[in-house]
Symmetry: C2
Subunit: 654 residues, 2 copies
Amino acid sequence: MRFKKRGASGKLCLRRTHIPMIRSTSWTSVQFRSTHGTNSGSSSFSIRSHTCGELRSTHVGEVVTLCGWVQYQRHGMFVILRDYSGLTQVLIPEDESRIKLKKTFCELPLESVVKVKGKVKRRPAGQENKEMPTGEIEVCAETAEVLNKSKKLPFEIKDFTKKAESLRMQYRYLDLRSSQMQYNLRLRSQIVMKIREYLTNIHGFVDVETPTLFKRTPGGAKEFLVPSREPGRFYCLPQSPQQFKQLLMVAGIDRYFQVARCYRDEGSKPDRQPEFTQVDIEMSFVNQAGIQALIEGLIQHFWPNELRSISTPFPIMTYEEAMSVFGVDKPDVRFGMQLVNISEVFSSIEVEFLRDIVHRPGGCVQAIRVPGGTRHLKNKDLESLKHLAKIHFNQTVNVVVLKDDGTWRSSIAKLLPDSAKQHLLQLTAAKPGDVLILASGLLQDVRSLLGKLRLQCVQLLEDKGMIVRDPSDFHFLWVVDFPLFLPKKEYPAELESAHHPFTAAHPEDLPLLLKEPHKVRSQHFDLVVNGCEVGGGSIRIHDASVQKFVLEKILKEDSSLLSHLLEALDSGAPPHGGIALGLDRLLSIIVGASSIRDVIAFPKSFRGHDLMSGAPDFISEDELRPYHVCVKWPVQEGKEKQELDLTKNSALDS
Amino acid sequence: MRFKKRGASGKLCLRRTHIPMIRSTSWTSVQFRSTHGTNSGSSSFSIRSHTCGELRSTHVGEVVTLCGWVQYQRHGMFVILRDYSGLTQVLIPEDESRIKLKKTFCELPLESVVKVKGKVKRRPAGQENKEMPTGEIEVCAETAEVLNKSKKLPFEIKDFTKKAESLRMQYRYLDLRSSQMQYNLRLRSQIVMKIREYLTNIHGFVDVETPTLFKRTPGGAKEFLVPSREPGRFYCLPQSPQQFKQLLMVAGIDRYFQVARCYRDEGSKPDRQPEFTQVDIEMSFVNQAGIQALIEGLIQHFWPNELRSISTPFPIMTYEEAMSVFGVDKPDVRFGMQLVNISEVFSSIEVEFLRDIVHRPGGCVQAIRVPGGTRHLKNKDLESLKHLAKIHFNQTVNVVVLKDDGTWRSSIAKLLPDSAKQHLLQLTAAKPGDVLILASGLLQDVRSLLGKLRLQCVQLLEDKGMIVRDPSDFHFLWVVDFPLFLPKKEYPAELESAHHPFTAAHPEDLPLLLKEPHKVRSQHFDLVVNGCEVGGGSIRIHDASVQKFVLEKILKEDSSLLSHLLEALDSGAPPHGGIALGLDRLLSIIVGASSIRDVIAFPKSFRGHDLMSGAPDFISEDELRPYHVCVKWPVQEGKEKQELDLTKNSALDS
């Protein structure tokens, strides 16, 4: 048996060739390849013959070469080799003359990389491992080579090892060795490949790459900037290829898609990434139904076999229905606890503050019912719900606990006559053992609050071990008929686009565009699964004059920033529409990850840091000079530093 | 017949659905789709039934719906509709009652977008157009609709229209309608798809997306910067995913690829783009031969059928051979005119300045022979070659014109004895009618100069109509055994990486690494086709101590900037290597484009501008504030502006 420590690059057998001094057409090249080189498969062109996960009893008798990481050693006889595909047991033969070599090999630090050549043997009867796909065989080593010795690592590569996420991120190259992360990244690659096959091979889409160094879009406050070498001029990293996909339709590309890198500078929002990926799609000569059917087929096409199947078409819900029934525009429809309007109970009774609310324009009282809530929700839980309402919504909620004996425990119990109680029970279908949560106020506030409390309740129940939402169930649905414009948060008298300024109005509402734009529904639609928005699409405005009207008259934007797009719409733009799917979010739901960071190879921390390399990092003034920018240190970081900086600048400028 | 101008969004038939107030599992959705919706093909989910290029005589009798652009009108009877797939002739029926509608339709501005429904009819005998794939049929319009009227455009959408490139770029959405650009972008999409299929489906590669907001690499002077919201900290846009691909190998991904967006800030270099795309590949447990065989298979796999086929394996040439024979490391081997060393002719003769050169260390005299050059190269041409040598290389070349009668026309003719002349003719195999170009000096200077003049000669010959290089011939070859380090241009006593600091040394040269690093060959290799480098790969250093030695002792870099990579190499890094193919360059060669801009949907101008949108653009101070940067206006742009700027800054800072 031969054991040797290989150097940095190993011994290579280069292909040799004869280069005569004549025209190349007559060249011949004599080759010598040292690879095992089958023509396909996961070991093609490799120095290994097989991966560590593929040997079975059918391979018994074959001489194989494996490369892998030392997962563990057993009994001073076995080394368990690992690669992404699995584990193989390697037997180090008992042989007096090789004791030292064997010792070296068996004492190698875990995670060292080795190459082993040997014969596949059936394991002795009774020693098979049925839980290991390669458990019927072992490889009896003939030669072996240490390719790279590992130092002691900061954590073990075991799937069940719980590690702090910051540690996982700092040593991401170790974290990715876990079978869960290998599965996530490999599934992501497969799904993206199926998406591409569906779009290009089946439906004639063209994969077009669009620039990421682009121009600031009007109101694009979340776009990263990239200084150019021209003083004062900046590129920006766009939030999506929206303008380009529309321009491609004007260009007659007809069907475009791209697995597109997008950028959004949102500071420190949890579970967002400064760069993320969307499956970006645009079609000419299509309507909403066409895009929706395309996407339903797409998701069917890539849906992993190992998951519970989904059926198409997906249900459709209007925005108004979603808001009224679930209090949110991305409803989780896997469970009930829907919002019930109970205003009529209070319209004529003595509870003054509720009655006043009901009679105010836009006022209402609504409730959600937690079935069997009395058994699971303790006082502490109910207080936490009230607290949430107070802190995040500045609202007061009333809780009614319906005891098993039919009596009420609630601060409003004594204020309500029996008839009102009966009425309320009837409207909410509440039974003894249930909990009712009541909110009152302006319709939109009540909906948002109860929508949030509904999700909070189910979280509380599940934290206590109830299974309310089946995690293996995937409920896709479309939400349609969104409003086209919303009042600006800071200046409610002004309107802003609910999604983006290129969204077309609902054809039935076109007449409202001139006079009552706030009432116009849009041709925007969202794809929602299990309470998460995973895609948004729309039919776009393809008429230049309509686009100009929306930009200038309704949104009060400077349309000259988009003059290229307006001109394009005037140059024979076809009717078109499209959609973007949030690939990271969709994948995290499919693999059941709690964060999109678990489906991204090298994610940033929630503060936007790469904990492995330390990006973003400080840059010297010398390196900033070609871009004609300098750092403006905040005053609070130290007056001295700032002054120093200004001094330097003056010196450079003069 | 119905003609109507459709509004911004057209009339849509939305799918309707019943959303009961119960759990979604029992939902059903009743749908009404207005699309023609076949389940596959290029008109699936569309309001058209067919594209404008697909109707044949087999469709005669079918009622079809076409959508397209008005290409032209003929005889007030025909409208020729175009989409990406081709042209179809639409017949407007002669009908007294429809004269006005017909007039409208036939007077529509070219490039307006229309929808036509009608029956496919065979063209009357004798009126077929054999040059048009749809030339056997026409569509007899029954209804038609103007979807969008076009204004007068800045240029016609005709392939043969020659336009200034700046105009093409400004109206890129019109330029892309040309059949050449449609072909280029669609071929690009298809080739990329085949690359993906080959790598993932046949060879088990994993498509992994790596970040583009990363950390400055040591010496990464060409990296764009992206200010973060943390004062003084910047991301950078990496030139390639080099570090990430190696980290993925350490992570056990085994086989990685990505069609990766890369960034390089090279200012205004011709035919470079600030963002470009590379097919990025990395494998564990592989050697050079394995990577080369993988790529040969890849190119065979995607090679377009319509091009002359290529054969594999590709020839291999060492860097030393390429430099000595072709004077360049990316030789165009489609023609001869190779460099010939003629130093021995001058070592003992009277031409003092040449003899001295030959006897100087590293000095030489070399020649290239232009067969039949006397017929085609005029005095003006030969002067231009001398001029080029003077301007770009500061060297003098001697030209020998061998007249048909065997006499020499050359300034050195009378200095050479006949024996030397004979010797020279023998070494260069020159015959009457040929031209010889002689250069003398240091070996590396002579090679570079003659390598350049060789290409310049062939360009001159081709400009005069000779076909020296067949544009339909594709000569791929590998150039191997590059030097690992090169002297720095500005400080020749110091070394820098010839490619990048992660390249492994040639195993035979490992002993030289300590004492004579400038002599070490690398395991880097280039893929060259027709004189263009289209890919570069290498085996990487996988030993942390070797990597640290190279960074610190040879390159004198601060290795702490790469501490994450060094640590990774110490954590069980497998031997690995990879390659990156320049997709834009490769495609431009395949489609025969003179610039990579012709295979990119929205390229930047050579100054890095997007001529369509006007990026990069000025950004207000307000928008810069969150990033803690300000513009440092150059002094020469006007002292006043700068002062104004500084005043503003002080006001903001205080």
